[in-house]
């Protein structure tokens, strides 16, 4: 925006710049690496942005949203629609950041769409049952009921959600009245194929239209508590600009955490960008700051096998975007598909319907659904491995789009692949390189990560929230992956909007509490410590070290003794290498603070693993000292939070949030 507008806006949100110089001893104009003997030695390496480590800006708003992904944008929209002054704080750029930054191809659990054949109540209950309760009941209820509202709003904002050009006329996955296209389960018709490359630009444009003040390239670093005491009401947050190093203080009546689930705790490779199939800036910043502020978490003990680094969304075989892909081995032999009862399926169409006698299947990349809700699937990886050893199958495997019905092939490659995150560029790069789905077999890449390289399932661990999406701390709300048992584009959209509205209502009926100066000074000392170091550990080294501790002592199979060792070495790293962490530019400072957050998340995970003294199949949680799997007395949410520096363990019933239908009606 033009400078004059910017100034008047800053005034209107009550922004003011404090006097420079708060005792950090940082030269304001010097290049951060000017005196670094190991650093770059010539002008080529000059940092391109002005350095402002000693500048502090205070932003006064009603609601501050931390994390500008899908849930954060919707939270900001929900609060702004109540006429409130809203700040949206995003580490990257809101227009293209977050797990759906580059796109998304399907909109899940949209039971309220006009062509759906299942009610929102029934679908939500089935999803909860399929996960034996280890999921966020309230957020699932909100998602199945309100997903269609949010999707219609996205259409209004300019995103394409239906086949209005009649390209798929007559397809069995198309509703001829609404022109909606469905995926996975053609019986239920609750998962909608969408043109989501435009999703984040649409949401960003809407935020700006509603007057949301977007702070791009600002990494939130801590939550501010009333009187500076952990466990108290949250009164805002601090942040640091990742280009200039400027410090920001947000003072708000309500704070909404909408950061992503950390994508790299056990897994780190030097080429960070391709280390996990999630944006590398998903470093659990929100998890770390909420943990330190005394917020309550659950399901952080859950984990699944990590994914192999590299090869992105354009690769064939991914079970959501490419469903129901036909597969062949290198000799052209087809990989068979079976229904949940082990019956061989002979047509492509059969892969999109429940088995005879099965009520429904829940499809689309959902982790660990119990057997009665499992959908059709190709021969398992384990069985393929056995076949490869015996010579039944020859590697590599390929997708075989060419043998599929024309409209299925077109829907997978020319719609889904082109719209899913990382897909637009994959589609473009593939076709320009001559790939033709009608003639060519795209290779399927198989993952064989070591069992101890875990990952946090994105729909499991997170902050405990109530029906208002409020955490245990007054003034602090959470949505999207930040909340426990919540995920996906539709889940983040619906819970984000819901949290924005509820936080907004709270802001309307409450008065502002001041930030605590001492807490801010302490945080500034912590944040800027790495740029004051002239020697020490760089962030990659630290992250690699944390990942190794987690692999060695908190891997696939856990035991009290090894968890204690994990805790010991993480504490040791906290006391030594973390204190010597060094950063030479604001960008490196961001990564250093991320590494610090990953350390805090690791400690949170280890604490959670110690707290659940029972194995669980659904949680991917195996304890050799408590080998009984899913004993009934442990069928509950185990919670952890920090209380005066000590981990306090608690529990919530597995039907937390019940009665769901009644509560949803009461709260909506």
């Amino acid at each position: 925006m033009p400078d004059s507008n910017r100034r008047s806006f800053l005034k209107s949100v009550g922004q003011r710049t404090l006097a420079a110089g708060v005792g950090l001893g940082l030269p304001s104009s010097a290049r951060p690496d000017a005196n670094d003997p190991e650093g770059p030695q010539n002008d080529d390496s000059a940092w391109p942005y002005p350095i402002a480590y000693d500048k502090e800006t205070e932003v006064d708003v009603d609601v501050v949203v931390l994390g500008g992904g899908v849930s954060g944008c919707w939270a900001a929209i929900g609060a702004a629609r109540k006429g409130l002054r809203v700040a949206l704080v995003e580490k990257g750029n809101t227009k293209r950041s977050g797990s759906n930054g580059s796109g998304v191809d399907h909109w899940q659990d949209c039971a309220a769409n006009p062509a759906s054949r299942v009610s929102p109540d029934e679908l939500a209950q089935d999803i909860i049952d399929a996960r034996k309760g280890y999921i966020c009941g309230p957020s699932r209820w909100i998602k199945t009921h309100e997903g269609w509202d949010r999707l219609q709003e996205l259409e209004q904002m300019g995103m394409k959600i239906r086949d209005d050009d009649d390209e798929f006329k007559g397809a069995e996955f198309r509703d001829e009245t609404t022109k909606l296209l469905f995926a996975f389960n053609y019986q239920d018709r609750t998962v909608i194929r969408i043109w989501g490359t435009g999703l984040k630009p649409a949401l960003t444009r809407e935020c700006r239209r509603l007057g949301v003040k977007i702070f791009d390239r600002v990494m939130a670093t801590s939550l501010l508590s009333e009187n500076g005491q952990p466990g108290s009401r949250i009164v805002g947050a601090t942040g640091v600009n990742t280009r200039t190093g400027e410090f920001l203080v947000f003072n708000a009546k309500a704070t909404i955490l909408t950061a992503a689930s950390p994508s790299r705790v056990w897994q780190f490779v030097d080429n960070l960008g391709i280390s996990a199939h999630r944006p590398p800036n998903n470093s659990g910043d929100g998890f770390a700051m909420a943990w330190k502020a005394g917020a309550m978490f659950t399901l952080m003990e859950a984990s699944s096998l990590g994914t192999q680094p590299g090869v992105g969304q354009g690769a064939a075989g991914g079970n959501s975007t490419w469903y129901p892909l036909s597969r062949v081995d290198s000799s052209g032999k087809e990989i068979p598909w079976f229904d949940v009862n082990g019956n061989l399926l002979s047509t492509v169409s059969e892969r999109c319907y429940p088995a005879p006698g099965q009520k429904r299947f829940l499809g689309g990349g959902r982790v660990g659904a119990s057997r009665e809700y499992r959908g059709p699937a190709p021969l398992s990886d384990r069985q393929i491995d056995e076949g490869v050893k015996k010579g039944t199958f020859v590697l590599p495997l390929y997708g075989d789009l060419s043998s599929m019905p024309e409209l299925e092939r077109k829907a997978i490659f020319r719609l889904m692949v082109a719209q899913e995150g990382l897909g637009w560029i994959a589609y473009r790069t593939l076709v320009k390189a001559g790939f033709d789905p009608e003639k060519d077999l795209p290779q399927i890449y198989r993952s064989h990560n070591p069992p101890d390289v875990r990952s946090l399932p994105i729909d499991m661990g997170g902050l405990v929230v109530d029906w208002d999406m409020r955490t245990n701390l007054e003034g602090l709300y959470a949505a999207g992956e930040q909340a426990y048992g919540t995920w996906g584009c539709a889940g983040s959209s619906t819970t984000g909007h819901w949290a924005g509205q509820r936080a907004g209502e709270y802001a309307l009926r409450t008065s502002k509490a001041p930030v605590n100066r001492q807490q801010i000074e302490n945080e500034k000392r912590r944040v800027y410590a790495p740029v004051r170091q002239t020697s020490g550990t760089l962030w990659k080294e630290l992250e690699n070290g944390i990942a190794k501790v987690m692999q060695d002592y908190c891997g696939d199979v856990k035991h009290e003794e090894s968890l204690k060792i994990a805790d010991k070495w993480l504490t040791e790293i906290d006391d030594s290498e973390l204190k010597r962490l060094r950063a030479r530019t604001p960008h490196e400072l961001m990564h250093a603070l991320e590494a610090s957050n990953i350390l805090a998340v690791s400690q949170l995970v280890v604490s959670s693993c110690m707290a659940r003294k029972a194995s669980s199949e659904l949680l991917g949680f195996h304890r050799s000292d408590y080998p009984a799997v899913d004993p009934p007395e442990w069928h509950k949410f185990v919670t952890v939070k920090l209380e005066q520096g000590q981990v306090e363990v608690g529990e919530l019933p597995i039907d937390y949030g019940a009665p769901l239908a009644h509560s949803y009606a009461k709260h909506s």
Partner: protein, 125 residues
């Protein structure tokens, strides 16, 4: 200041530079710099010159910088996967093996995605 990205701090020792720019076409508008969520690129200190790849290791191959380029079709910017991520395929009829980035690629396929290359439409109302 050299314009060559390889001479730059972030990319000097990087094994892979994910973006190449054609200096003859790029006008240095920095749309790609602002599109990137990870600050892979920084503006060139010389106005009007192509941005520089500064943090190549942060690139997760989302392609948003390419989407935003106003001179994409003219060839201002080219995306490159790391070799290990360059997708491979087999032509069913002939058994020929191909990969993205190969020396003698087959003829390009010009089919656009369903709905065309349009990313976002105007807001309704």
């Amino acid at each position: 200041m050299k314009d060559n990205a390889e001479s730059f701090e972030g990319s000097r020792y990087a094994s892979h530079v994910p973006i190449e720019r054609n200096e003859e076409v790029c006008i240095g508008c920095n749309s790609c710099v602002e599109a990137c969520m990870h600050d892979v690129h920084v503006p060139n200190p010389k106005p009007g010159k192509p941005p520089l790849v500064f943090h190549p290791d942060d690139c997760w191959c989302c392609g948003c910088c390419v989407m935003e380029c106003p001179l994409l079709e003219e060839g201002a910017i080219t995306f490159k996967w790391p070799i290990e991520s360059e997708l491979r395929w087999k032509r069913k009829e002939t058994g020929e093996l191909f990969r993205v980035g190969m020396a003698n690629p087959p003829a390009p396929n010009t089919t656009p995605p369903v709905g065309g290359w349009v990313i976002l439409r105007e807001r309704k109302g």
